[in-house]
């Protein structure tokens, strides 16, 4: 067996939710994934024994090039404030801005993985007026840049791999790790924001259990209704890039299955949508956030046609929490 791939995981301006989500990985679970990928976790802030001086020495050795690291993961955004000083996150025990430690360690990495939308783009931590000056590793929102700059490449030649999401689905990380460990993760496997196509080749819309309501524009009106949430409740599933309704969350779920809207959390800038998250902005009664690659006039024409053809079953059920009309096979009625 070849030498294991060493992995270091760092956290900065985030909530830790991507790690907590990852602990729920299933088939394969996290420990099986690490074994299958032949990954040796040198340090993870939530999971490793080493604390204090032992951890500081390890991280300093990696930053100084005295100890090899193959995979560097950052969870949480890079914190630059106030006024560029980085003092809003000083790495515990060091008296130095965490940002500088992250940069030094990334410079030694075979590959750098941004875990979650914060590390990729700034994410929620960059919300509001972003007075903490949060950015991602190679983006500041949608602008190329961030801590490492747009031209950064890991020693293996890949740009920062952005496993965006708030939080990540555990499978997005375990798939990426297994693919990288197999030598099968290339630039062609990443999308235009360097997110793994393994999950961003899909729209959240794909596999949504409300698709029939969408087809007939039978819309939900209040939270908890069964109908499509695009027209009124802010749902961005037709634009959002992720396989959330194909790859179930926590066994069987998704945001849509929980009866609340997709907020497009894998996209840069999702944290500032410019409108209330749970309300669809409209111009002249027509939602402004239509599917991005469909001519608007066609969408409006088809929507008015399909609305006129909406079956009673969907029209009745769309504004209810549980169905009042069920599918029914008329042959059973002897007619």
């Amino acid at each position: 067996m070849s030498a294991p791939l060493s992995l270091v995981w760092l956290q900065s301006g985030g909530c830790g939710g991507c790690t907590l989500s990852l602990l729920g990985a299933d088939a394969p679970d996290l420990l099986a994934t690490l074994a299958a990928a032949n990954v040796d976790v040198l340090w993870h802030p939530s999971l490793s024994e080493a604390s204090g001086a032992e951890a500081r020495t390890l991280l300093a050795d990696i930053a100084g090039g005295r100890r090899k690291v193959d995979i560097v993961c950052l969870e949480g955004s890079v914190i630059n404030g106030p006024a560029g000083s980085g003092r809003f996150h000083m790495a515990a025990g060091t008296g130095e801005p965490m940002r500088d430690l992250v940069a030094a360690i990334c410079a030694r990495a075979g590959v750098v993985i941004a875990v979650g939308s914060c590390a990729a783009f700034g994410g929620i931590t960059a919300g509001g007026d972003n007075h903490v000056e949060a950015t991602g590793l190679s983006y500041d929102g949608t602008a190329p840049g961030g801590l490492l700059g747009p031209d950064f490449r890991g020693q293996g030649g890949l740009p920062v791999v952005n496993i965006a999401g708030c939080p990540i689905h555990p499978g997005w990380f375990t798939d990426t790790l297994l693919q990288y460990a197999a030598g099968a993760l290339t630039r062609e496997d990443l999308d235009e924001w360097e997110r793994p196509l393994a999950y961003t080749a899909h729209l959240v819309h794909h596999g949504c259990a409300r698709n029939e309501f969408y087809e007939f524009k039978a819309s939900a009106e209040t939270p908890g209704d069964m109908g499509c949430m695009m027209e009124n409740l802010g749902c961005k599933g037709t634009q959002a890039r992720a396989d959330c309704n194909i790859r179930a969350w926590n066994g069987s779920g998704s945001c849509l299955d929980g009866n609340y809207a997709c907020i497009n959390c894998t996209a840069p800038g999702f944290e500032e949508p410019g409108h209330a998250f749970a309300v669809t902005p409209k111009v002249g009664g027509i939602p402004i956030g239509l599917p991005t690659d469909m001519p608007k006039a066609w969408f409006v024409a088809l929507a008015s046609l399909s609305k006129a053809a909406t079956p009673k079953r969907l029209r009745e059920n769309a504004t209810r929490a549980t169905p009042s009309v069920l599918p029914h096979d008329k042959r059973r009625d002897g007619k």
Binding site: G16, S46, L47, A91, I124, G251, N259, F277
Partner: protein, 478 residues
């Protein structure tokens, strides 16, 4: 006297530094440094009020549902909407899944690995503890993670996903469940009960919940010391004297846990000097004398968050005080306020490392049984949500109990937008810095007198004391 700086202090949620003043073989003073500031309170100002439900859970990936419950509570207070019975039951179930998973994540992944450290190589239990609890590699991780994943499948049904659900609303839950789903969740809960009774306790949940004194706990643990993980802890705690470690003699507080229209499963109140007391919510204030902020002490309903790196302080954590005094929060505090006999006896000489851990495991037994009753009480034909009325103008406070203690959100809305938002999280109480009077926070007090072994730079006693609070640093400062 010399100073030790311990950091990064890992296996807590988020980043932490602890500065210790050491004299001879003991800690004589401690300063707890919360080194990360993210600015959620400022971020929320000006947002549509309902957007708090998107931002607030993202304060924390381990107490995400608690943050949602507090935000929904604050919006509920401002709007006056009342949740139906099913809404309470569904939200309590979601909240319980998070809290119980957190208690066990703390026990298996954060707390117990410290007993596999080489410093304990001379102990009779060392080899078995290394095999069982070594970080990431011990057999307990391999047993616990799949059980946790199976338990969290309840989230897939009730909350869509975890963390960061939007199912929890001021008027209840968006997710109605069917009779078939209730039956399926009953099976999931049974699977989790089997894990707890086979692996964690080696006994029934009911027998654990009925333990009524520390002597009873020790007698219970002895025959299970090689078969149950909690008993393994109790026996090594007895050997190491963890009931003498990390002592505090301060007031305990609970905002009340698992709320329904009749009140709380675990009562709201305080506990001091062996007796329960009232909780004067209007007497909460945050002091910033030793934190990097500008401002004077204020009740959170009128509080401000104005960061200032030039301020004379040592932490981004404010110092919340109840009636001017330090308060400790957490599972032990909750069970002391609720009056559970085991908690009362274990903390008779003051809160301590063993009592804090035992109270968490006691809650696992108590709450999982309660979850079975909540699930059975859901009426799938009745509503789960009262349609929310967005607060146009008004104030609200959302008070709840996260796994690690009391969590409060204080909201002021003006014409549908957030005018002010203040958060005090459990670890803000427990890991607070000194206040204007120089009084140290609960952890700072608990660390005084901690023993230091010869040559230790990362004193293992300090590791146990700090982690016994199950700190969540990302919540602490937010």
């Amino acid at each position: 006297m010399s100073r030790l700086i311990v950091g990064p202090f890992n296996r807590v949620e988020g980043d932490l530094e602890v500065q210790l003043d050491v004299s001879g073989d003991a800690v004589v003073g401690a300063r707890v440094v919360s080194p990360l500031y993210r600015g959620f309170e400022a971020m929320l100002v000006g947002k549509p009020a309902g957007d708090a439900l998107v931002y607030a859970p993202r304060i924390c990936g381990i107490c995400s549902v608690s943050q949602s419950v507090a935000a929904a509570g604050a919006l509920q207070g401002a709007s006056g909407v009342v949740a139906p019975v099913n809404g309470h039951l569904a939200v309590n179930l979601v909240h319980a899944v998070e809290n119980i998973a957190d208690h066990l994540t703390h026990f298996y992944l954060f707390f117990m690995p410290d007993f596999a450290r080489a410093v304990y190589a001379g102990e009779g239990w060392y080899a078995a503890t290394v095999e069982r609890f070594t970080a990431l590699k011990g057999s307990a991780s391999a047993d616990f993670l799949p059980a946790r994943t199976g338990f969290m499948a309840l989230m897939g049904i009730l909350a869509g996903k975890w963390p960061h659900t939007l199912a929890i609303q001021p008027g209840g839950s968006t997710r109605a469940v069917s009779r078939a789903e209730i039956a399926r969740m009953g099976g999931m809960l049974q699977g989790f009960r089997r894990f707890l009774e086979r692996v964690t306790f080696a006994d029934t949940l009911e027998n654990v919940a009925a333990l009524a004194s520390r002597d009873a706990l020790l007698a219970w643990a002895e025959p299970r010391a090689t078969t149950g993980d909690f008993a393994r802890f109790v026996m090594l705690s007895q050997g190491l004297g963890l009931n003498q470690l990390g002592r505090t003699h301060i007031r305990h507080m609970s905002f009340g846990a698992y709320h329904d229209s009749d009140g709380h499963l675990f009562a709201r109140g305080t506990f001091a000097d062996g007796a329960p007391g009232p909780l004067p919510l209007n007497r909460i204030a945050e002091d910033v004398a030793h934190a990097w902020y500008q401002g004077a002490p204020a009740h959170p309903a009128a509080g401000q968050t104005r960061p200032d790196v030039s301020a004379d302080g040592y932490s981004w954590c404010k110092a919340p005080r109840l009636d001017g005094q330090v308060a400790e929060v957490g599972a032990l505090s909750r069970q002391l306020v609720a009056g559970h006999a085991l908690a009362l006896d274990c903390a008779r000489g003051g809160a301590n490392v063993e009592a804090r851990v035992a109270a968490r495991m006691l809650e696992v037994a108590l709450v999982v049984s309660e979850m079975e009753r909540w699930l059975a009480a859901i009426d799938p034909a009745a509503p789960f949500i009262t349609h929310p009325i967005d607060p146009a103008d008004g104030a609200g406070a959302g008070l709840t109990e996260a796994a690690r203690g009391s969590l409060g959100h204080w909201l002021q809305a003006d014409q549908g937008r957030i005018a002010n938002y203040q958060i005090i999280a459990p670890t803000t109480w427990n890991f607070s810095p000194r206040d204007a009077a120089g009084v140290p926070g609960p952890l700072e007090q608990a660390l005084q007198g901690a023993p230091i072994r010869t040559g230790e730079t990362e004193p293992v006693a300090v590791q146990h004391i700090v982690r016994s609070f199950d700190p969540c640093m990302v919540c602490t400062v937010h």
